[in-house]
Structures are given as structure tokens and as C-alpha cells.
């Protein structure tokens, strides 16, 4: 975007999913009740929002999602490693669209190991690829009970809906 439409940023605002969620939560446009999400969860940093954003734009979205998690999860933990040195789910870079399923699954073992070590039943991601891949590897590595949720999904789940 920067490369091809440098004028774009002068004309329009842009917002990441995190910016939006935080904006809504901080301004009070939405309210959440974290007791709804009462299972222990872990958060996974997608490469694109985290490490690669850090590399390309000088800012990795590490703290933002964690702030959101704090708002709407009653109990959540980090994987290890996390943030900049987080393991990729194994489904990035378009590999979900390639026929190299075995390699992809092999790649995913690292993610599974990470999740297993935390002992959580739910993993929260803010990325479609990660969502799909983690579901796939959970099946491949015999963790059928692992729930994979979008970050906005846990927000939506915890939304306090005024009766009026």
C-alpha cells in the first residue's frame, strides 16, 4: 500500500483489527463481560501482525491483542516463546494453499507442543490462516478438544448487550 498508493494514507484513515477493538473498548462503545469467557486460553501471535509487522513497519502488534485479551478473558496465558520469537502456526505464507500438507503438519508440531505445555483448551488467534492451520494440526495431533477462536470472536462472545 505504501509502495503503490503513497497518497492513500493522507486521504484515509486506516485501522487494524486491534486498533478497532481497542478503540471500541476504550471509548466505551462496546462493553465486555470477561466472566463469560471463563475457560483458560492462550494467545498466539500471527507472524504477520507480530514479527513481520515489527520488521516491516517498526511496530509489532504484541501488546494490543494482549490488552484486548485482558479485557475479555478471565484467565489466559502466553505461549512460550511468544511475541517476536513466536512460532508460526505453520500455515502462513500461503502454504495452506499448497499441496505440501505433510510438511505443514510437521511444521505445526511446534505449535502443538507449545499449546500442550500451557495445558489450555482454547487458543485465541487474530488470523484466518492461523485459525485454519491450528484447527488442522489439532486434528492431526490428536487434540480434537482444542478450541480455536478468533480474537474478535472472544470479544463478540463477551459483548454486553444492553436490553434496549
Amino acid at each position: 500500500m505504501e509502495k503503490w498508493h503513497p497518497e492513500f494514507f493522507d486521504r484515509y484513515e486506516t485501522a487494524t483489527v486491534f486498533d478497532l477493538l481497542i478503540e471500541y473498548l476504550k471509548s466505551g462503545r462496546i462493553r465486555v463481560d470477561k466472566s463469560v469467557n471463563n475457560v483458560r486460553a492462550a494467545y498466539h501471535d500471527p507472524c504477520n501482525y507480530g514479527r513481520k509487522s515489527q520488521e516491516l513497519f517498526g511496530h509489532g502488534y504484541f501488546d494490543e491483542p494482549r490488552w484486548v485479551m485482558d479485557q475479555c478473558m478471565s484467565d489466559w496465558v502466553d505461549l512460550f516463546p511468544s511475541r517476536g520469537n513466536q512460532y508460526c502456526c505453520g500455515g502462513g505464507g500461503g502454504t495452506l494453499l499448497t499441496p505440501f500438507k505433510d510438511e505443514r503438519t510437521h511444521y505445526g508440531r511446534k505449535k502443538i507442543e507449545q499449546i500442550r505445555r500451557t495445558g489450555v483448551g482454547t487458543i485465541v488467534v487474530p488470523c484466518h490462516s492461523c485459525h485454519g492451520q491450528i484447527k488442522a494440526i489439532a486434528a492431526a495431533y490428536d487434540m480434537p478438544d482444542l478450541t480455536v477462536k478468533y480474537l474478535w470472536e472472544v470479544v463478540a462472545d463477551a459483548l454486553v448487550i444492553d436490553p434496549d
Binding site: F80, P81, R83, G84, N85, E113, R116, R117
Partner: protein
């Protein structure tokens, strides 16, 4: 300027600072050693073991003579030298004036504890509620905000860590003597005149907490190398019973990750930190020793930089005998393994195959951090020559290099200030003044000073009972009791006692003496009781009081009796002082020898420079790089023109007799014998390129040594030929038996050659087969440069070297590239072999000089780390290639260092016999010569006419081995004569 009052400032009391302070002090100057932190010693007190002998050995840095038991022992516990004043918690805040006459302003921060009132009961430490990560254990343990910074020194004072102290006042309340003042006070003093300043700021280590790769700070079982050594240490957080920090499980598997914070341009650390490789090997062996030989120890490395003379063998032994695993792969990051606390590392093995291993602990070999800038205050003055820094430009240094640099810094400082080396105060440790000598000569009359210290928590003693017993003891004993507290009431009374006493020896008995000792020692000296005439009994010492509050007279009398016995047997030193010749013999006029000769000559020493070849300069003039050669050319010019240097070329040392301080011998030159006498000798005989038959060297013309290849490349005709492929093979014939050492210079030369070829032939194929690229320190940048210039580097292991063969007229090199996972076959126009260096034959010379030689034919130094240019012969020093492979600039630096060490000897006008050296009683000596054989220093020799055993009082270090093999006490040890010791034992068993 009055030269006898010359004093120097040394900033920083790490290894370099202590070493230069001792050098200056022993050369006769007074030194103020300034340390910002709470203690001296730098990193050393944290480490118990050093490569290559796996022991500390720091004490070997101390002067080997003139020792008083207890005065100077373990440098970990602190430094004590009569010419050195130590100021901890102190910084230099101003420096004005001119070289040779500076005025320094020093600012000290109070420790918060009154040295005189504190009884070292440590109640303050016990109650302190603050717990901080202990820097001494490199965060592997905790300490309080009030703590004892010195290692194992019973007299060291607790100190408040002002940054972490909450001023809660618990300690002040717990202190029985109100010794604690919670107000931080800064005191300023000015010191003048200061002749020069040595800056030994040390090098900070990289802090791995700034990266998340290794989980440092998050995973408790990931520690730094320093912390791991603390964990293994008996004085460390686990008190010698190391366990895994996370859960107290035994440590069975340990991995080291090399290059943490080094060789990483992404963090601005393009350098190699030089020391970490050997540190890791040492730690791996230490781990095996401490944790059991079946401990799994694995080192993940890029290049194992074993460039020291003894390092390669050490590493090989670690691998082959002790089973330390070495894996050539840089580790990406540390992951937890499935079992809690375990750590998992993934890597590529030597064949490029992926591997995974689980460890209990991961040790980060952290390198040098960001070098502190020299404060402008000092930076401004470095040009003036009287402010000298100890090599910060070279980055992190091991002990040996630091010690060498310290010697060199002192040498160049003295040289620049043009100090007349013989106008100075001779150190007077333990040497008796006039009055003391008289006292020594008298029948022992003992004055006992009972110093009753009124502070609470000092042991309570029933003094009258003790006094009564003392007075009843046989012999002439007088007792006076003085009350002291806070140093008050001491001065007048003490003066009177010392003035009026009939005693000629002093026994000080007190229930708490720490803090007073220095002042009292000075007062005693003034009254003519030099240190050897005084014995101290501090009943507050743990081994006497055993922590009890009241000491029974019986218990108190034990140490008192022992001290009495020792005093009764005090005797003056025997033997005649020997004149020292202010001249030196330097053997070999290469870079090292020239440097030593010029440095000595500049300081007023007459130098005989003896060179076997017909011209001087050694390998210097053959150095092709003009930038490297210039300093040596300059040295040649300076040596030739120096009035204090006489040069004998085409000459060798023919014979030698005498002893340190005064040798006599002759130099053989064209069948002429020129007699010479000199006070010290410096061996600088150098070395030559090695001859090898490796890879068929000598059989095929395109196979040349890298020295010859360098000449070819520099020949203008070289560029005229066509050139397709150059192959270089490193470590040809070296780093394996029988020449199992790194020659240190070959990698840099190969890189230089490769880059030169690249410049001439932009399209040539240049391949370097290497085992480990030894570009330590800044030369790593050269390696990096070569990597960007289309030079292919292929690693190989000792067991699978590349093969050189011929195909018709062409030479072909076959190898395997583990990175690409493929075999390579290279038709080479040239194959350049890094043949390495060997020392010149020196066995005959070393026999003459009574200096041992290593199996590789190098001169064996006194101690590889702590006394790198000394030999066990105190009058003989060594530098340059004769001692081990090194670069020309390093040889020059070693030359200066050796000069300084020689100067320490030559600076004295005479050598007084040491009180602790051995003496032979010829009348009863049976001449069995067991003592001669058992002397570890070769300090004994047989006088040829009568066959008497003579002791060289300078070479003798007072170890007493001779006395213990002598069945009839015909050889005796200064004050530790048999009857003294036996009476002491008897007293101790009362």
C-alpha cells in the same frame, strides 16, 4: 618534580587495574587504586577456575618475594600492598594539570558502616528485608541491600547498596554498636601530584536480557556463563552442591550457546569476544568434574576459537578424553521441553542434518557488551601520553592478554614520562628498618598489647585471667592493657607504651581488631616495630570465637600461645644483599626483542641485544603489509641509534653463570668471545614458518605455503597470468599432533591473500577450506569482509580433511561442503597451505638460562595466565614467538610487557635476601642434594668446589619443599624453622 614521590592513579581494580598497580608499586612508585564498585578484583573473585590448569591462580600475580603470611594471600579477598592505596566506592571527578604533575579529585561514597565500630557480626545483613539479585552471582542468587562485598575476608566491612536500600532502618536497629549510618555521604579529596593515570575500566559483558531469543530472565535454567560458574562454585548460591535453579533437580545435561552478543551485526557487535570459546570448554570440563563425568556437556559453536598456544590441546582433551560434545551450529533460540524445567535446542549437525536435544541447563556464552566511552575528562588527556588505557580498543580480553596489556600500559607510561627508573622508593614490605634490625638482634622480650575493645558483640574476655597467665609464662613478657572504642583513647596511651616498652617484639591481643589493623601497623612501624616483629591475635575471628559471646581464658590462650611461640622465634633475614646490575641481555632482535630492548633502553637500562642472524628485525622486514611493518621498521631505527643499546649480530650466547640481578656470560661472535654482565635476560628468539609435508606439500609446484603465496600475489607479474581457481587449506600440519596448536596468524593471512586475489581477479574462484576461522577480536571484521567478496568458505573436521590430488598436470582438491550437502572438486591453479609457525630451536639456550621448554619447543612461561612473560627463573623473561604463536603487533606489545617485568628487577639497586627464603647450614649439610632436586624453582645449585648447596635468594620463593625433604634441618626456612613450627604445634595443642 620530586621523583621519589611519584605517584600514579590506577582507575579500575579489575585484573588489569590490580596488575598495573602491582607493577607500578613493585617498580617503586606509590599507587592509588580507584574502584567505583564495592570491591577489587573485577570478575575474578567470581571465577574459581581458569584455563588451562582449571584453577584460579590469581595469587600468582602477587610479587613472588617479600611475603608475610596473611598479609598477601588470596587476591579474591582483596589486595594489600604497602605502596598501594585502595579506594573503593570512588570515582575520579576531576583531573587537572600537566603530564607528570596532575591534580586528581576523587569522590568517594560512604559505605554506610563505620569500619571501627563494626564487629563484622553481620546482624545487619540478617535483618535486611531487601532482596536483590546478586550481581556477584550474576543473578543466579540473591543478596541483601546491606552485604559483604569481599569474598571470604573476615575483616571486610559490610556495605550498603545505596541503590537498593529502602532506608527502612532495620539494620541500624539491629547493629549493637550503632555502626550504621543510613545517610549516603560523598567525600571528596584531591590527590597531587599525580604523575600519570592508567585507565583499566574493564569491559562490560553483553546482557542477554535484551533479547527474547534465549528466554534469559524467563526460563530460570538459562543462565550466563558467569552465573553457571557461580552455580558450580563452593562460594556460590548452592555452596558447591549445584542443582538446577528452577526445581532443584540434579544437573545432568548442559548446553553452551556460543557467540551470545558477539559476531552479530544486528546488535552492532561485529566483533568476536575472543574469550568465550575457551571459557565454555573450561566450564564444560568443570561441569564434568563437579557434576560427574557422565554429565552431558555440549557446546554449540560457530568457530571454536582455540587460538592460544595451549588451547587446542585443551579442547581436544575435552572432546576426546572427557567427552565434551562440540556441534558447529549457532543456536536460534531456547525452547522449553515437555518436562517442566527442561530445555530444548534444535540445531544442524556437522553433516547439515537437523537435530534436537534436551538439556537441564543452557549456558549463554555472553561476550563483550558495549564499551563505555572514556569520560572527556580523561579522553582529552590521552594524547599527552600520561593517561594510558589498558586496551579497550581490543575488546574483551582473557586474563593473559589483560595482564600483558597491563604490563605494557605501565611500561609505556613510564617510558613516556621518561622516569629515571632508579630514582624511586623501593618497596619495603617486611623489610626491616634500622630500629627493627636492632630489635631483631636482641633476645626476645615480648610486649603484649591487650586492646580491650568496648564495642558490643565483640567477644567478652576475662582479661585479668589472660594477663595473669601471660605474665606467668616463661620468658620476658610484659603486658599492657588499653581500652579502645572508635579509635578514641588509643593514640596517647599507645604512644607511651610503645615509647617506654622494654619489649622488642609486639603481640597484639584484642577482642575486636578489624578496622584498626592498618592504622596500628603504621604506628608500630613508626615506633620501629616492622610487620615481622608483630603478631596479632584477634579473638573475634570466627575460628577462635566460634561465634560464642564469651571466650574462656583457656580458649583464648590457644591462639595467644601460638603467636607467642612465633614471636619468640622471629629472626632477622640472613645473607648478604646482592647488587643488581642495571643492564639487560635481550636475545633475538625481532619485533618482540627490539621492542623490549628499546623500552628498557628508554628507561635507562643498558641493553645488550644479541641476534643470531646478520641483520636485525627478525621476521619484521618480511612483513608485506606496510601498515603492519612500519612500527617494526621504526623500532629497528630506534634500536640502532640508541645510546643504551649495543647490538651484536651474528652472535649467540655462549655461556652463563650468576643469578638474577647479576649474570655473567659471553657472547660468541665469529669465534670471538665477548664477555658481558647483566641483571636480567629476555628471550625473544622468535620463530619461523613450519615445514610440512601435509597434502603433498613440496611435490606439486602449485602447492605452496601461504607465506610463499603471499609473495607471489604481491609480485606485480602475478596479475598478468590468468587465474581461475585458488584453493586455500587452513591448519596444514597444525592443530593436530604433533604440532597441535593454532599458529594464530594464518587465518588472517589467508583472508588477506584471498582479498588481494579478489582485487586482482574479480572473477576468480576462491575457496578456503577451514576448520575454525580464528579471527578473534576485531579481525572478525576482515572475515566478514571476505565473506562478502565471493570467497567460498568450506568447513572441515580434523578427521575429514580435503584431499589434494593430481589429474595430469593439474592439481585437484576434493572436499565436502556440509552446508550445501555436496561434494566439491576444484581444479586449482594454486593451492595455498596455511603451514603455521614453529619456534626457533632454543633448547640449548634454555638449558643455559635454566628455563623449561614446552613439548612444542616454546619457552615455558612461569604461569600461562598470570605471569605470561615471566619464566620460573626470576631473572629471565620471555616474549614473542619464542613463547607461542602471535602476530607482529602482539609481539611488539609482549616485548614492552617483558621489559616492564625485567624493570621490576632491574629497578632495584640491590636485592636483599628474603626473610622467608631458605638458608643452608653448610656445617651439617650432608650434600645429598635431595633439596636441589626437589626445588620447584631451580633456586638451588651446587657450588662446584666444595659441593656445597647454595640458594639463590631471589629465585627462592620460600615454599619450604627443600626443608621438608632435608632430614636434619640443614636447610631451614626463614622463620618457619623446625623448632619454631614444632613449638607452635605444641602451643596449639596446649
Amino acid at each position: 618534580m620530586e621523583k621519589t614521590k611519584s605517584q600514579f592513579l590506577v582507575l579500575g581494580a579489575g585484573v588489569g587495574g590490580i596488575c598495573s598497580a602491582i607493577d607500578l608499586a613493585e617498580t617503586g612508585y606509590s599507587v592509588t587504586l580507584v574502584e567505583k564498585g564495592p570491591r577489587t578484583g573485577g570478575i575474578m573473585p567470581q571465577l574459581d577456575h581458569q584455563f588451562p590448569d582449571d584453577h584460579c591462580g590469581m595469587c600468582r600475580m602477587l610479587p613472588m618475594v617479600d611475603r608475610e603470611p596473611g598479609a598477601q594471600t588470596c587476591l579474591k579477598r582483596g589486595l594489600s600492598h604497602p605502596n598501594i592505596r585502595i579506594l573503593t566506592h570512588t570515582t575520579l571527578t576531576d583531573l587537572s594539570g600537566n603530564p607528570g604533575d596532575y591534580t586528581a579529585v576523587l569522590t568517594s561514597v560512604s559505605r554506610g558502616v563505620d569500619a571501627l565500630r563494626c564487629t563484622r557480626c553481620m546482624a545487619c545483613i540478617d535483618v535486611c528485608p531487601v532482596s536483590v539479585l546478586d550481581a556477584f552471582n550474576d543473578r543466579a542468587g540473591d543478596r541483601n541491600a546491606i552485604y559483604q562485598p569481599f569474598f571470604g575476608n573476615p575483616e571486610a566491612l559490610p556495605t550498603i547498596d545505596w541503590d537498593n536500600c529502602t532506608r527502612c532502618g532495620e539494620c541500624a536497629q539491629a547493629c549493637p554498636n550503632s555502626a550504621i549510618d543510613l545517610e549516603r555521604v560523598e567525600l571528596t579529596e584531591s590527590v597531587a601530584p599525580v604523575s600519570g593515570v592508567i585507565v583499566a575500566g574493564g569491559n562490560p559483558l553483553y546482557d542477554p536480557a535484551v533479547t527474547d531469543l534465549y528466554g534469559y530472565g524467563v526460563l530460570p535454567n538459562v543462565v550466563t556463563a558467569t552465573a553457571f560458574e557461580r552455580i558450580l562454585s563452593g562460594s556460590g548460591p548452592f555452596r558447591g552442591q549445584p542443582v538446577r535453579p528452577s526445581d532443584g533437580h540434579p544437573i545432568r545435561r548442559v548446553a553452551w550457546i556460543q557467540c551470545v552478543g558477539s559476531r552479530n551485526v544486528m546488535i552492532g557487535a561485529g566483533h568476536c569476544s575472543s574469550t568465550c570459546c575457551m571459557f565454555a570448554v573450561k566450564e564444560a570440563l568443570l561441569a564434568k568434574k563437579t557434576l560427574g563425568s557422565d554429565t552431558d556437556t555440549t557446546i554449540f559453536y560457530m568457530d571454536m576459537r582455540t587460538y592460544g598456544r595451549d588451547s587446542q590441546r585443551y579442547r581436544d582433551r575435552a572432546e576426546e578424553e572427557s567427552g565434551v560434545r562440540f556441534i558447529r551450529c549457532r543456536i536460534h533460540s531456547v525452547d522449553p521441553a515437555d518436562d517442566p524445567g527442561d530445555l530444548k535446542l534444535t540445531y544442524l549437525d556437522d553433516l547439515g542434518q537437523p537435530g534436537e536435544a534436551t538439556f537441564d541447563m543452557v549456558v549463554l556464552s555472553t561476550g563483550a557488551g558495549v564499551q563505555k566511552e572514556l569520560p572527556p575528562l580523561l579522553a582529552d588527556k590521552t594524547d599527552q601520553g600520561a593517561v594510558v588505557t589498558i586496551g579497550p580498543e581490543a575488546g574483551l580480553q582473557d586474563i593473559r592478554e589483560t595482564v600483558l596489556r597491563a604490563h605494557g600500559a605501565v611500561s609505556s607510561l613510564l617510558e613516556k614520562l621518561n622516569m629515571d627508573s632508579r630514582a624511586k622508593t623501593i618497596p619495603k614490605t617486611g623489610r626491616a628498618g634500622d630500629k627493627s634490625v636492632n630489635r631483631f638482634m636482641q633476645q626476645p622480650v615480648i610486649q603484649v598489647l591487650v586492646l580491650d575493645n568496648g564495642v558490643v558483640k565483640a567477644p567478652q574476655v576475662e582479661w585479668p585471667a589472660i594477663e595473669g597467665r601471660l605474665e606467668r609464662s616463661p620468658g620476658n613478657i610484659f603486658v599492657n592493657r588499653l581500652s579502645i572504642i572508635d579509635g578514641k583513647d588509643l593514640s596517647l596511651e599507645l604512644e607511651t607504651v610503645l615509647k617506654e616498652t622494654r619489649g622488642n617484639r609486639l603481640l597484639v591481643v584484642s577482642n575486636h581488631i578489624a578496622g584498626y589493623r592498618a592504622t596500628l601497623t603504621k604506628r608500630f612501624e613508626e615506633a620501629g616495630f616492622s610487620a615481622p616483629l608483630v603478631e596479632w591475635v584477634d579473638l573475634n575471628r570466627n575460628d577462635v570465637s566460634m561465634g560464642t559471646e564469651t571466650i574462656q581464658p583457656d580458649a583464648a590462650m590457644k591462639p595467644i600461645q601460638v603467636a607467642l611461640m612465633r614471636l619468640l622465634h622471629k629472626r632477622p633475614s640472613r645473607g648478604m644483599a646482592q647488587v643488581v646490575e642495571n643492564s639487560a641481555l635481550v636475545i633475538g632482535a625481532g619485533p618482540a626483542g627490539l621492542s623490549a630492548a628499546v623500552s628498557l633502553a628508554e628507561q635507562g637500562v643498558v641493553v645488550h641485544l644479541v641476534e643470531k642472524e646478520i641483520s636485525i628485525g627478525g621476521n619484521g622486514p618480511r612483513i608485506q603489509d606496510e601498515h603492519q611493518r612500519r612500527p617494526i621498521d621504526q623500532l629497528i631505527v630506534r634500536a640502532k641509534g640508541h645510546p643504551n643499546i649495543s647490538i651484536h649480530t651474528g652472535a649467540t650466547l655462549g655461556a652463563l653463570s650468576g643469578r638474577p640481578g647479576h649474570f655473567e656470560g659471553w657472547v660468541v661472535k665469529e669465534n670471538m668471545e665477548i664477555p658481558l654482565s647483566f641483571g636480567a635476560a629476555i628471550i625473544a628468539t622468535g620463530g619461523t614458518p613450519a615445514i610440512t609435508e601435509a597434502y603433498g606439500m613440496g611435490k606439486h609446484p602449485p602447492l605452496v605455503s601461504h607465506f610463499d603465496f603471499e609473495k607471489k600475489v604481491l609480485d606485480p607479474r602475478f596479475a598478468e597470468d590468468t587465474l581461475n581457481t585458488v584453493v586455500m587449506i587452513q591448519c596444514a600440519g597444525s592443530r593436530e599432533e604433533p604440532r597441535n596448536y593454532c599458529s594464530r596468524t594464518c587465518c588472517v593471512k589467508a583472508l588477506d591473500n584471498a582479498l588481494r586475489v579478489r582485487q586482482l581477479f574479480p572473477h576468480a574462484r576462491i575457496v578456503i577450506f577451514y576448520r575454525d576461522i580464528m579471527t578473534y577480536g576485531k579481525s572478525e571484521e576482515l572475515y566478514a569482509k571476505a565473506r562478502t567478496r565471493r570467497i567460498r568458505f568450506i568447513p572441515f573436521n580434523k578427521s575429514k580433511p580435503p584431499v589434494v590430488r593430481t589429474e595430469g598436470d593439474t592439481v585437484v582438491v576434493d572436499g565436502f561442503d556440509p552446508v550445501m550437502g555436496e561434494a566439491v572438486h576444484l581444479k586449482a591453479d594454486w593451492v595455498s597451505l596455511a603451514v603455521g609457525m614453529v619456534p626457533k630451536p632454543i633448547h640449548d639456550l634454555c638449558r643455559l638460562l635454566e628455563v623449561p621448554v614446552t613439548p612444542d619447543g616454546f619457552v615455558h612461561e612461569a604461569d600461562a595466565k598470570w605471569r605470561p612473560v615471566d619464566t620460573i627463573n626470576p631473572g629471565v623473561f620471555v616474549c614473542g614467538l619464542a613463547k607461542g604463536p602471535l602476530r607482529a603487533d602482539e609481539a611488539v606489545a609482549e616485548g614492552t610487557a617483558a621489559a616492564l617485568r625485567a624493570l621490576r628487577l632491574l629497578n632495584r639497586t640491590e636485592l636483599a635476601p628474603q626473610r622467608h627464603s631458605a638458608v643452608v647450614r653448610h656445617a651439617i649439610c650432608s650434600r645429598c642434594y635431595l633439596c636441589v632436586d626437589s626445588c620447584p624453582y631451580g633456586a638451588r645449585f651446587v657450588e662446584p668446589v666444595l659441593g656445597q648447596v647454595e640458594v639463590d635468594p631471589v629465585a627462592c620463593q620460600g615454599c619450604g619443599t627443600c626443608a621438608s625433604v632435608c632430614p636434619n634441618s640443614a636447610t631451614v626456612m626463614g622463620e618457619n624453622e623446625d623448632f619454631t613450627v614444632m613449638n607452635v604445634i605444641e602451643a596449639a595443642l596446649m
